[in-house]
Amino acid sequence: MNADIQNQITHLLYQEAYLLDNRKYKEWLELLDDELVYRMPLRITAEGKEAVDLVDEMTYFEETKKSLTTRVNRLYTTSAWVENPAPRQRHFISNIMIEPATEPDEYKVRSYFLMKRSRASEHETEEIFGERNDIIRRIDGEWKVARRTIYPDQAVITVMNLSMFL
């Protein structure tokens, strides 16, 4: 795996996290490919230890760049109460594994996320964690997220809402 590309893609993911954590959502959108497919299937507890425990037909996110843009625009209104006043959020991205995809300049990128959030002056912080499977591609020299599938590790989500992006 070319170390240079490795660094660029890693930087992209960190940059993305930074923009989200600093509420620069519009800048974040610019990191997304126009053809983006962004999904978050449900996790269940399934029979047997080999069983597939992801339910593909029901999700927490079933998004396109267009639908994400709508979500972002909403967060810039004056009445998106869930983030006004703004909670603090932090995306810890780790275990980044990159391998070439089918197309040139296209890579399969797997990463782990641990997202923590602190709301108002509450003592309890919230967290959600799991795995992300991305397709990241370079278009005219710019790296973009073209596909993201987010796998939460809990069958019951314990954040009070999913107003954040993952």
Binding site: M58, T77, A155, I157
Partner: protein, 449 residues
């Protein structure tokens, strides 16, 4: 385990205030009230378990909760639904920890006892070698949830063996369930599995918010107005009727300023309309044709919304049921089902599902803002002023909207008390009255125990 004597004085004050349309703030998250609710409301009323489409064949099962009681719901070989306490009868461990699956036999991992789909104890390891006449297998079948019932594919259960039948409990709500669930051939189907998350809220607040409070839409969800998705008119969610039903149930039939729906039959494909009319009575069909949004619920903790989404030409409608499972006085585990007409075109189903994801559930742009409100209600409910049972600080919530002023509209074609606006606290008052009736029942008896 220790006898407790109730503070009748606090209850008397509570009753007085409620008759004035006021609800003392202390009851929202008070731990003793919660304990009463657990026993006297959730121990005696019918609660939703699943929709029949979640268990397609014999052997299919799902595990659910009736507050703190783990339930194993199975479809037995004869196709009946059976609800058992999900606890091995030998020593009590949770028998099945999976969310769903298909099996013939449930085997306990502790000592290996096994049970069939009728709950019969069919296997005891080394049975006759270790047990003799002291043990009669029949006595050790899985314990059934005392009552189970089904209406329009909705499966309910009740922990009280002496509860009235489900259909009586639902009463006039059945008439509206026919519209929501019975309009299409083959009825509705659940997509995948329910979304589940834990939110900071008291179950009464979430149930009321959904069943009884279209008035909150104009502010809580004002971002949709800023986004140009909802009308500027602050009354937009107030047009139509709020229908108060028996046993704390209720439904809001929201039309629009014109008195008609934004689109006939909630923007469903015109091809489906004749089917609706065939499956519904003329009155039901008329309401369906004129309604933009149905939102309401079955007491205590099941709510639903059936909205229109999308823009001209790409309108769609779906049915979302949600169960508010109390997890203590300050937490709710929300279960959210996306349901759609089995008979609808596939691409329509797909589009409807996508708008659901964008609007409701933990990631829904509407519901996100509700969760902030629910949390704030909990956060302001623990202080001495809010918790004061003497009401010295006059800490009472306001349910005055329309009290003794707005009268039922006799011309409304559906059953129940239908008030000619949905910006009204009539359902909320009726929920809370039923709540008080339930928790104060047998209070005296208890005292003399």
């Amino acid at each position: 385990m220790f006898k407790k004597t109730l503070d009748e004085n606090a209850f008397r004050k509570l009753k007085e205030k409620m008759e004035e349309g006021l609800l003392p703030q202390w009851v929202i998250t008070d731990p003793d009230i919660y304990e009463l609710e657990r026993v006297k409301i959730f121990g005696r009323t019918w609660q939703f378990l699943a929709h029949e489409s979640e268990l397609s064949e014999s052997g299919c099962y799902v595990t659910r909760w009736m507050v703190d009681d783990p339930v194993l719901l199975v479809k037995n070989p004869s196709g009946e639904f059976k609800a058992f306490l999900n606890s091995c009868t030998h020593r009590g461990p949770r028998l099945c920890t999976e969310d769903r699956g298909k099996k013939k036999t449930f085997t306990c991992p502790y000592h290996g006892w096994s049970f069939n789909l009728n709950g019969d104890l069919i296997g005891i390891v080394a049975g006759n070698k270790v047990y003799g006449e002291e043990m009669c297998k029949k006595d050790w079948a899985l314990r059934e949830i005392p009552r189970i019932g089904i209406y329009q594919g909705m499966i309910f259960a009740c922990l009280d063996p002496n509860a009235i039948p489900l259909e009586d409990y639902l009463g006039d709500m059945k008439w509206y369930m026919d519209i929501l669930l019975g309009r299409s051939d083959g009825g509705m189907e659940v997509r995948g599995v329910p979304q589940r998350w834990v939110t900071k809220a008291n179950w009464k607040a979430t149930a009321e918010n959904f069943m009884a409070d279209p008035y909150h839409v104009q502010t809580t969800h004002r971002s949709t107005v800023e986004m140009g998705i909802s009308p500027e008119d602050p009354l937009y969610a107030g047009y139509g009727h709020q229908v108060v039903l028996n046993n704390g149930h209720g439904i809001n039939v929201i039309t629009s300023a014109t008195g008609k729906a934004r689109a006939p039959y909630q923007g469903t494909p015109e091809s489906m309309w004749p089917m609706f009319n065939r499956n519904l009575s003329p009155e039901q069909a008329e309401i369906l044709s004129k309604t933009t949004v149905f939102v309401g619920g079955m007491y205590p903790n099941l709510s639903f919304v059936s909205p229109i989404h999308g823009t001209e030409g790409h309108l769609h409608n779906y049915l979302n049921f949600r169960l508010w499972r109390p997890i203590g006085p300050e937490k709710v585990e929300v279960w959210c089902w996306f349901m759609i007409d089995k008979a609808a075109p596939e691409e329509y189903k797909e589009a409807a599902y996508k708008s659901y994801i964008g609007s409701f559930g933990p990631s829904g742009t509407l519901e996100q803002d509700d969760t902030e409100i629910w949390a704030r209600m909990v956060e302001a409910s623990k202080g001495l002023m809010a918790r004061d049972k003497e009401l010295n600080y006059n800490s009472v919530a306001n349910y005055l909207m329309g009290l003794h002023r707005v009268e039922p509209d006799e011309s409304f074609p559906g059953p129940g008390h239908a008030y000619p606006t949905t910006y009204l606290d009539a359902i909320a008052r009726s929920m809370h009255e039923y709540w008080l009736e339930l928790i104060s029942k047998d209070m005296i008896k208890e005292e003399n125990e």
